[in-house]
């Protein structure tokens, strides 16, 4: 631990810096969008943009918890899919069944998380590949639950999701709600332990932290947020589809990194990931509204994202010296 203090201080400045970097990126993204898209602040554009953000925001928070614990969950997208098809089968278009359906989704998400926790924490499989394997299990089960697209969400839900309350989009309120939920969790012992385990599992273990249980919890919480993402997806899509969430996985990891959370674990938080998720979505919009020719759009999109990742990593740049 003889890290020269100079390097140590930089490292801590780095955490703050990365928060600044993420906020700056969001501000720039919003400014550019405002310039390119004349009605960006109009009622529909605002509600629809936020409605677009929520699923990724929710899954990114889930991924953050797992990453903070020192893991990674490549099955979160499949969990979104599975939780959403189960919920849609339960709700079956009836508003009175909504609570039941939401409970079912949460239950499924947490059960998936528990399975991942079992596999990663108890069996000690390496998270990237283990959750890659469980993602097959979850997507297969989604096909069993809902073999072909179908089922419908009560119209009240999809309508409310696109509405606004006193000019504030409901979807924005949902994001605020997710942030508050994160905040509450931050005040809980389990999340403190998640940080400790992700920061240094051996030290945490020696310090009486129940490491295995904490790791399981991290995946369970990941599953919980995946289920919330599933509910947002359903409100956004209005019906069930057995492939709907799979692609959210990798985007969630990108959002976490854009938000300044270290993939090595132990450092960061969901606040950044929430912003990171929005930046990701806004980049797509920018490339579209900037009228980049279709052929080059994916190229530009990819390049901008790499640039953003580089910006998010600027703090790390400063601790280049080997003894860090």
């Amino acid at each position: 631990m003889n890290v020269p203090a100079r390097l140590r201080d930089l490292r801590w400045a780095g955490v703050q810096l990365s928060g600044v970097a993420t906020v700056a990126m969001l501000v720039v993204a919003v400014a550019v969008n405002t310039a390119l898209q004349p009605n960006f602040w109009g009622g529909y554009a605002l509600t629809s943009n936020f409605a677009t953000f929520v699923p990724l925001v929710a899954i990114a928070i889930g991924q953050t918890v797992v990453v903070l614990s020192g893991g990674l969950d490549l099955s979160l997208g499949a969990q979104v899919t599975l939780a959403s098809v189960v919920a849609v089968q339960v709700v079956d278009g009836r508003l009175d069944r909504l609570p039941l359906a939401a409970a079912a989704a949460l239950g499924v998400g947490m059960a998936c998380g528990a399975l991942n926790g079992l596999v990663v924490a108890l069996l000690r499989l390496q998270p990237i590949v283990a959750t890659f394997a469980t993602s097959f299990v979850f997507s297969g089960l989604a096909l069993v639950v809902l073999p072909t697209p179908g089922g419908s969400v009560p119209i009240e839900v999809t309508t409310a999701y696109r509405d606004s309350v006193l000019g504030v989009p409901v979807a924005l309120l949902a994001i605020v709600g997710l942030a508050l939920l994160w905040r509450v969790l931050r005040g809980h012992r389990v999340l403190r332990h998640v940080y400790a385990v992700g920061g240094d599992a051996e030290a945490a273990y020696a310090s009486l932290v129940p490491v295995t249980r904490t790791r399981v919890w991290a995946y369970v919480l990941g599953g919980l947020f995946a289920a919330l993402s599933a509910l947002a997806v359903l409100a956004n899509t209005g019906s069930g589809d057995p492939f709907v969430g799979n692609e959210l996985t990798l985007a969630s990891v990108a959002a976490v990194v854009l938000g300044g959370t270290a993939l090595a674990g132990g450092r960061g938080g969901a606040g950044g990931s929430i912003l990171g998720a929005m930046v990701l979505a806004l980049v797509t919009n920018i490339v579209f509204f900037a009228d980049v020719p279709t052929t080059y759009r994916q190229l530009v999109n990819g390049a901008v994202i790499i640039l953003a990742l580089a910006l998010a990593g600027i703090p790390a740049l400063q601790k280049r010296r080997p003894a860090a």
Binding site: P4, A203, L208, R321, P322
Partner: protein, 550 residues
């Protein structure tokens, strides 16, 4: 002192091919400070960890208060009243000091929601005793990772104390502490003893052991060699117990006189392959002149024939450091720890950002921009933190030894010959008397002292002209220490400049031809020859005027 509070009997633990504990036992009573001693790798930490619950023994029995203790993990140990200060600290750098102190036992309100105020209070209370070490302001809300080694050690101690133990394990808890902090710790231990707590104390500093402990149990090769009353024992007897027979301290090195026979054949590169000029230069520098350096001001003019010249070296933590060193000289760095000694070594190795200054090696500018360039120029660094900076724990001993020098043996800079690498590594194993199973074993299977020899050995194969040693004997046992001293002397005798930072003033006094005393990143004093005594070093470190003493 009626019945034993702690009885450990027949504890065995094997790691792969290493029998770390081979039926060790230990008995200690309430209100006792019991030393646990032994050479590196004798199993002290392992025995401590079986008690603290982080290691499961293969067999053996632990009784606490006469009852068999079933310790399935740290939480069980905690329930039995055991708390430990680990040699490898159990601090999470990303958490704050408060969070670390209460970690695992966070005070919570209902349903597990944290009570931040209670946590702060508890951490504050535990650290208060050591407030002086933090210049009075407790770093409760600072990330632990931003603290220095001594401060971290104190947090680790406070954390164990905050757990209110009946049995407190202190595994090399003083290794990175300053003298005053050690004194506070001793006071605390004294109070705990008075309160009936059993303290298990492990340290390689025997003066501490005699000052603090009542009895000592000595381990050797994983077995208990004996338990002694310290009041009836002397240092020689203890060392005898530890190593089986008493090694006599090699005579003090004659300061940089040439032609002195090398105590060991440590420097492989010596002989026909030694760099041209090395011998000649060493010859050209009489020992008298080395001592004459005492009068030279820090940063003084270059001395003709100097092998290494450093001028105006400035980094974030170094201010205008300058000195010269001749071939064959051992230059010590003294002062309180953390005054920039490690930074100076890192800077000379191109591993710290240098904002001003330069260095010349044999008259040619030494690049201070990257370790690669430093290494290619003939500089070697044995860093202070072996685990993090010096060693590839999971890689074979063979690779650890080859790495720094293999490019010299590779064909086309790429293809390695298995036999050539093996014989190079073997030669070093033999010269440094590294005790190992097989060259193919991970270096992590070696004892601390042997690991340290590997870290030094990899550079000897590279035939360095400047060797930077950062606390090379930290946590190394007496016998290995002597061997490392011999290596250092051998290096110097073969014409290398050795710059030695050590937290042990005795070591500095014994090995150095000259000592630069650093304070807040600047050289404030230079001692040489006979002036290098432990007393002068301590005085210099504390910036006492000459004549003043402690």
């Amino acid at each position: 002192m009626s019945t034993a509070l702690l009885e450990m009997t027949g504890v065995r633990k094997r790691y792969g091919g290493v029998q770390a504990l081979d039926g060790a036992s230990l008995t200690a009573v309430r209100g006792e400070v019991h030393a646990l001693l032994g050479p590196n790798g004798s199993g002290k930490s392992t025995l401590d960890k079986t008690l603290a619950g982080t290691v499961v023994p293969d067999s053996g029995e632990i009784r606490i208060d006469g009852a068999v203790a079933r310790i399935g993990g740290p939480r069980d140990a905690h329930a039995l009243g055991v708390a430990a200060v680990y040699q490898q600290l159990s601090i999470v750098g990303d958490l704050t000091v408060t969070q670390n102190v209460v970690l695992g036992l966070e005070p919570a309100r209902r349903w597990g929601f944290l009570d931040h105020r209670a946590a702060r209070d508890r951490a504050g209370a535990a650290l208060e005793r050591f407030a002086a070490a933090f210049s009075g302001r407790l770093p409760l809300d600072r990330p632990a990772g931003s603290l220095g080694p001594g401060e971290l050690q104190i947090v680790e101690v406070a954390k164990a104390l905050a757990r209110g133990p009946r049995i407190l394990v202190l595994d090399e808890a003083t290794a990175s502490l300053h003298k005053e902090q050690v004194e506070v710790l001793f006071e605390v231990v004294g109070e705990l003893r008075a309160a009936g707590v059993l303290v298990l104390f492990t340290s390689h500093r025997l003066d501490e052991v005699f000052a603090l402990c009542d009895r000592a149990t000595v381990l050797r090769n994983g077995r208990t060699a004996g338990t002694v009353e310290l009041a009836d024992t002397d240092e020689a007897e203890l060392v005898g117990l530890m190593v089986g027979d008493v090694p006599h301290r090699a005579p003090r090195r004659a300061p940089a006189t040439t032609g002195a026979p090398a105590p060991t054949e440590a420097f492989v590169g010596a002989g026909p392959e030694a760099r041209p000029g090395a011998e000649a230069e060493a010859e050209a520098v009489p020992g008298a002149e080395a001592r004459a350096g005492a009068e030279a001001r820090p940063g003084a003019e270059a001395v003709p024939g100097a092998r290494l010249e450093v001028r105006g070296l400035t980094t974030e933590r170094l201010r205008d450091v300058g000195f010269t060193a001749r071939a064959g000289e051992v230059l010590g760095l003294g002062g309180l720890q953390g005054q920039g000694q490690s930074e100076l070594l890192l800077a000379l190795f191109g591993a710290a950002r240098v904002s001003a200054g330069e260095a010349l090696l044999d008259g040619r500018p030494l690049p201070l921009t990257s370790p690669v360039r430093a290494a290619r120029a003939g500089v070697a660094l044995v860093p202070g933190d072996r685990g993090r900076q010096g060693m590839f724990a999971t890689r074979p001993i063979q690779e650890n030894l080859s790495l720094a020098s293999m490019r010299r043996r590779a064909r086309a800079g790429l293809a390695l010959g298995a036999a050539a690498e093996r014989s190079a590594a073997r030669s070093m194993v033999e010269r440094l008397r590294i005790k190992l199973g097989s060259l193919a074993d991970p270096v992590s299977t070696l004892s601390g002292g042997n690991q340290q020899k590997v870290v030094i050995g990899k550079w000897l194969l590279d035939r360095p002209r400047v060797v930077l040693l950062d606390d090379p004997t930290k946590g190394v046992d007496v016998a290995a220490k002597e061997e490392i001293y011999a290596i250092v002397r051998g290096l110097a005798d073969d014409g290398a400049v050795v710059i030695l930072n050590s937290s042990d003033n005795r070591e500095l006094a014994e090995l150095s031809d000259r000592v630069l005393v650093l304070f807040e990143g600047a050289v404030v004093e230079e001692l040489s020859g006979a002036a290098i005594t432990e007393g002068r070093l301590v005085a210099g470190a504390l910036r006492l005027a000459p004549g003043e003493s402690l």
